[in-house]
Symmetry: C2
Subunit: 413 residues, 2 copies
């Protein structure tokens, strides 16, 4: 509904990224400038902060600090993993949300997250509508996994991809420094979609990539894997760089950690390490080559010092666009990216119904996975390379990043 006058609420949800706060900056700066928005609130730990009436009054923040949010990783407001029950099963949370929305006259609601968070956003949107509470609800996409349906890509993905590609280039140089053999097995995040793992192929553009890349989209076979490594080593002085997704599974859909334990007695004990450790150990035992298991762990999603400028800007503009759309009367939608790569790279911000975004996963197209399941095609490079362009990071202070410091003044109850 257009011309609504009232407060706006913004929440961050799910695993953080290097640029989720850039979207927050986009929402906050635009919302503070909108005439019809009477107050701007940031929820502490997403939906949970609203349920507990814990949210911050963003008008109390220093504009310079809001600007620094663009370069500050993780979720500055605090995040949450909270799945709303179906309203037919239990409507307690919904009633409480409506109560809070009424109390603070919340007429604009923005939720920033991935699949699950868009499900939450969708449920709230629908409930407010049937309850007759006019509130414009817009979802802002976010996930390093890049698996949201309908959008060309997701804010957060590109910076994680840039971290992975840059770090892999450095590791490539380091891992091959001696004149003796070594197989490095590098584990990348992504339980179901291989977008992040595929980013390893970007390092290959500079000649410093991986020899073998395994995505969760392709069923994983330990014997074939060991043979692939053996082949690379044969022609390469036992030097090989392998990149694997944490989500690789066998044909039956079992994760490597599960099936490796039963497939071979090499793994007949509890595993503390991740998939990289398991595979490195298999290579060492079966092929007798020195190995090193490396996990990019949380660093890949919070490495804001390596953020993509394109990503930082798009994340900001996605937040800004969400507020503008809502003020124009749009509701029940998510901001998506429509990109044109035919003549340079252009990105437009458009809308899609929220229910389409909720709970659907976009995977790497199977035709982009080549070399018998161990590499990525030029189509992937053409898709991903424009997204990692440019540097944008926090200014240095004492030689270290100067991240945003929010006052976090709680809204008066």
């Amino acid at each position: 509904m257009k011309g609504l006058k009232g407060a706006c609420m913004f929440g961050q949800s799910g695993g953080p990224t290097s640029v989720i706060n850039s979207s927050a900056a986009g929402v906050f700066i635009e919302a503070l400038a909108q005439e019809n928005i009477t107050a701007v609130y940031g929820a502490a730990h997403g939906i949970r902060g609203i349920l507990h009436e814990e949210f911050y009054d963003i008008s109390k923040e220093d504009p310079n600090e809001l600007e620094l949010l663009k370069y500050t990783p993780s979720s500055a407001l605090g995040s949450v993993r909270y799945k709303l029950k179906d309203v037919g099963v239990d409507d307690t949370d919904y009633k409480r949300l409506l109560e809070v929305f009424r109390k603070y006259n919340i007429r604009y609601f923005f939720y920033n997250g991935g699949n699950d968070s868009m499900d939450t956003c969708n449920k709230i949107s629908k409930y407010m509508k049937v309850s007759g509470w006019d509130c414009n609800v817009i979802g802002v996409p976010k996930t390093i996994d890049n698996d949201l349906f309908g959008t060309d890509h997701c804010p957060g993905y590109a910076s994680a991809a840039k971290y992975i590609a840059t770090t892999l280039m450095e590791l490539n140089l380091d891992a091959k420094v001696y004149d003796t053999g070594m197989v490095a097995v590098i584990e990348i995040m992504g339980r179901n979609a291989g977008w992040l793992t595929a980013a390893a192929a970007l390092a290959g553009v500079k000649g410093l990539g991986a020899d073998l890349i395994y995505l969760p989209e392709t069923p994983f076979e330990l014997d074939k894997f060991l043979n692939d490594v053996k082949e690379v080593c044969k022609n390469n002085g036992n030097k090989c760089i392998v990149v694997v997704s944490e989500g690789i599974k066998n044909k039956e859909g079992k994760y490597v950690g599960e099936f490796a334990a039963s497939a071979t007695d090499l793994f007949g004990h509890a595993q503390l390490g991740g998939i990289a450790s398991i595979l490195a150990s298999a290579i060492k035992i079966e092929l007798g080559i020195k190995t090193r298991a490396i996990e990019f762990s949380l660093m890949q999603r919070c490495g804001a010092h390596l953020a993509s400028k394109t990503d930082v800007e798009e994340a900001f503009l996605a937040g800004e666009a969400a507020v503008k759309f809502a003020c124009d009367g749009e509701t029940d939608k998510m901001v998506i990216f429509k990109c044109d790569r035919s003549n340079g790279y252009k990105c437009e911000y458009v809308l899609m119904p929220l229910e389409l975004a909720a709970n659907t996963e976009k995977k790497v197209p199977s035709e982009w996975i080549i070399n018998n399941g161990t590499g990525l095609s030029q189509e992937f490079i053409d898709y991903a390379l424009p997204l990692i362009q440019g540097d944008a990071k926090a200014p240095l202070e004492d030689g270290l990043p100067r991240f945003a410091k929010l006052k976090k003044v709680l809204a008066t109850k």
Copy 2:
């Protein structure tokens, strides 16, 4: 000896760093400009390349690529871990080295490395002297471990320290993002000296450091450790960030991986993971708190995208100074850093006899380790903070670092 006319040989040795190639650039650019130096060679894989007559003719390289070496991590010439036997035990290698030095008229020899490499450099220097082969030999320091005796600090340390402090700041924000508890255990390199692990304290200057830091200098007790974590968690909603050196040992000098296995049956099986995994698992089992084990692995020593400008420049100047000293007739010495922090930060390049550098380790002073073995004093911060100032990294190409590409033209035999 001054006025020597002849070729110069340079080699890289030991574990690489983010800036070891910056020292190579310093040696090469200065040597190419020196009148008395008739040829400039870079040994493939250090001493092994000399023994096998595999070295590159640096005059064939593009000057722009030599400049890019400053920002290119790892050892561009290839590194080696090769310990020369004592000449009294076996002089085969020495005789061969002398043969090669004579064949190519090598009158200047520069070796870039840590303790072991300075031992090699020292042995070669002494052998050339007793053999009557005039050759000016200068060691160039290098090690992320910062444990070389006699020098204020070592090239390579600062960039690794900056990587550790910056990444820890980002992880601090990420690890505390949910409203549920989590203990992150982060493992840092350094088998005997805790300088790298201590760098975690630099993140504390920005309020985003670790709650507990454990160096190898202090004997490690599992019970005390678990109690320390428990105390932090009690006052902190079960949120705690622990940084541990891979080299922590108990009072008997046993590494944690060894004594943990016998100390408790929690660890009664082979470990694939490192110390972080072992300790995270102990916390989970003993304290029942969610944990995450993170290793900075090779990334901390090759993360050139986060190099310290101060370090890049000093590494270059150390290489340049080595050549200048040698051309002035100095020999049998290592370049060391003499620093003055009394009024800003100044660094001078001076010489020290090679035998003093060989095989001695410099540890973190015990009086700098505070808080019952879990923190670092202001003295450490004052020491280390000037070293990590400024950014210096490779130019971007396709959104990724453009590292040096050497032609590596082998010298004609």
